[in-house]
């Protein structure tokens, strides 16, 4: 209990004047966003283990999503490359054919050709239908995977709320409103969501790149539509963050409903 005179004077100065207990005016209780973000980020950093568990769900989900999407983009690229090659080849043989069998009668061969194109068309149709079905199945898989991830996050966050009930109660005893608690948890979820999606994105993309450079050679990179890929990645990032936020709503609401008296409980 020793403080110097100067400290007390300074204490008097800073708490004096207008700052001193304006009781008559019911001052607002507030938690500025900057402070909330600071506290939440600190919480994530200092509880990295828990955040990692929560984040793994997002990482896996987004990695899968990115895998599926970039796989589609890459296979498109491969197909385009193959098509081009075919066309070049066809043009070459045509010209060779043309020069070789010039002036032959064309009645029978025209009918043959027509039949050939018909068969080709129906084959293409079949292929398109199969592709559509595959796409639908993939979409179904992705939705299921993301749903499972979301539930995983909710579960993990609920655990984290239970772990921290005394802390939440204490904050409420110190004057925190329910909305502050919700805000802190949602910011935390958003931070974890963004980081997790980014990691998932990188993993998913690297996987696909690795896979295709083995299968089709490195040259396929040139044929891939990069703007589309980038768009997909951005979308995946957004979906990851949104998923994490939405999944965090039930735990955050539960945390905010925690009675402040919970802080007074001694048994944990």
């Amino acid at each position: 209990m020793t403080i110097s005179m100067m400290d007390v004077k300074r204490l008097a100065e800073i708490s004096g004047g207008g700052g001193r207990r304006a009781v008559q005016v019911q001052a607002q209780i507030s938690l500025p966003w900057s402070e909330a973000v600071r506290i939440s980020i600190k919480n994530v950093i200092l509880r990295l283990g828990r955040a990692a568990i929560t984040g793994t769900g997002i990482v896996l989900g987004i990695a899968f999503l990115t895998y599926v999407w970039s796989d589609a983009v890459f296979s498109d690229g491969v197909k385009r490359a193959a098509l081009e090659q075919e066309r070049i080849l066809a043009a070459a043989t045509e010209s060779v054919k043309g020069s070789a069998v010039e002036g032959q009668e064309s009645g029978a061969s025209a009918a043959e050709e027509a039949q050939e194109t018909k068969a080709k068309l129906s084959l293409q149709q079949q292929e398109a239908a199969a592709e559509e079905e595959r796409g639908a199945r993939r979409a179904w898989l992705v939705v299921m995977a993301l749903l499972v991830c979301g539930i995983g996050i909710t579960n993990s966050m609920l655990m984290s709320v239970t772990e921290r009930f005394q802390e939440i109660g204490t904050m409420k005893c110190l004057g925190a409103l329910d909305t502050f608690v919700v805000r802190l948890f949602l910011i935390e979820a958003a931070v974890i969501g963004c980081l997790g999606s980014f990691v998932g994105l990188v993993i998913g993309f690297l996987f696909v790149m690795f896979f295709y450079s083995i299968k089709a050679g490195f040259s396929v990179m040139a044929k891939v539509s990069w703007p589309q890929l980038l768009l997909y990645m951005l979308l995946a990032l957004l979906i990851g963050a949104a998923l994490s936020l939405i999944s965090a709503i039930p735990p955050a609401v539960r945390a905010s409903r925690m009675p402040p008296a919970a802080a007074l409980r001694t048994e944990i």
Partner: protein
């Protein structure tokens, strides 16, 4: 410059505290000067923490027929059964009672953590049951400081951040917060531990941080729930001394639930609660209490 009286020759000496030798008899005045300075510091701290902006009602807490009934299925359990109690401003009050006596429930009522089934609890002549969630939070933030048995510091925050947290809620600027937080921690004797996490502090130090945090927004009441329950005798005594000092110097009302005889020793009044009712109220002067000195402690 301040005036001191030389203890040896009785001469009046004026010094700023740099020269600490009596000019006439060359007696060492350091002890006198230090004592005077310490007293002055305490007076200033008291002046600072004293809450004179509120119209002073004599009673800071008044309860009238406070009743709380918990419903567990079909069974009704009454934890509080019509408690009438007036607590004077600046009083040091201890509440005693066996577990399950309704002590905690009573505490929660005063602290605005729970609402009564019947009756009312007035703090600063404000009926706590009538307040909205927002007003209640305001009241908790500004009027009441909580000290818990298990310290309840936020584990991921440093001592300083723990102390400044209620100030964030109260809307203080960050400069103001830092400075006040630093001074409050100095006040409880933790000037060297500002940036330590609770896990890096001993139990007694953590409780000191909790005391500083309770003082963050200049509360009128400090509610301490078994503040020495998790501390050893010696550190418990230190916390009690700190609370008593704050009570005497700044006039903050202290209400504590306790089994600790040392705590009872410094209390003005002791309220015994049993079965949700006040069994008896004792004044400190009326009870005989022998609190032995601790081993190795000098009194």
């Amino acid at each position: 410059m301040a005036k001191y009286v030389c203890p040896r020759c009785g001469e009046s000496v004026e010094t700023s505290g740099i020269v600490t030798v009596c000019p006439s008899c060359h007696a060492d005045l350091r002890g006198v000067v230090a004592e005077e300075q310490h007293a002055r510091t305490r007076r200033a701290a008291a002046e600072l923490l004293r809450d004179d902006s509120v119209t002073t009602h004599e009673y800071i807490v008044r309860t009238r027929g406070l009743t709380r009934i918990y419903r567990m299925g079909d069974v009704e359990v009454s934890a509080l059964n019509g408690v009438d109690l007036d607590i004077r401003r600046g009083e040091y009050l201890s509440i005693m009672g066996p577990s399950g006596s309704g002590k905690s429930t009573f505490f929660n009522m005063i602290g605005g953590l729970d609402k009564p089934t019947a009756g009312s609890c007035y703090i600063n002549e404000t009926d706590m049951a009538q307040l909205s969630a927002h007003e209640l939070a305001w009241q908790r933030c500004h009027t009441i400081g909580y000290i818990f048995q298990t310290f309840n510091l936020i584990p991921v925050m440093t001592a300083l951040e723990n102390v400044t947290l209620p100030m964030i809620f109260a809307g203080a600027t960050s400069d103001e917060m830092l400075e006040r937080g630093r001074l409050l921690l100095e006040l409880v004797g933790l000037e060297g531990r500002l940036h330590h996490k609770p896990s890096e502090l001993s139990g007694g130090q953590q409780q000191r941080v909790a005391v500083a945090r309770a003082l963050a927004n200049q509360p009128a009441i400090i509610l301490a729930d078994e503040p020495t329950g998790n501390l050893d005798l010696h550190t418990g005594k230190e916390i009690i001394d700190l609370l008593k000092e704050l009570n005497v110097e700044s006039g903050v009302t202290i209400i504590s639930a306790t089994h600790d005889l040392k705590m009872i020793d410094v209390s003005d009044r002791i309220v015994h609660i049993r079965d949700g009712k006040i069994e008896r109220i004792e004044r400190r002067e009326d009870i005989e209490l022998e609190v032995g000195t601790l081993g190795g402690e000098q009194q």
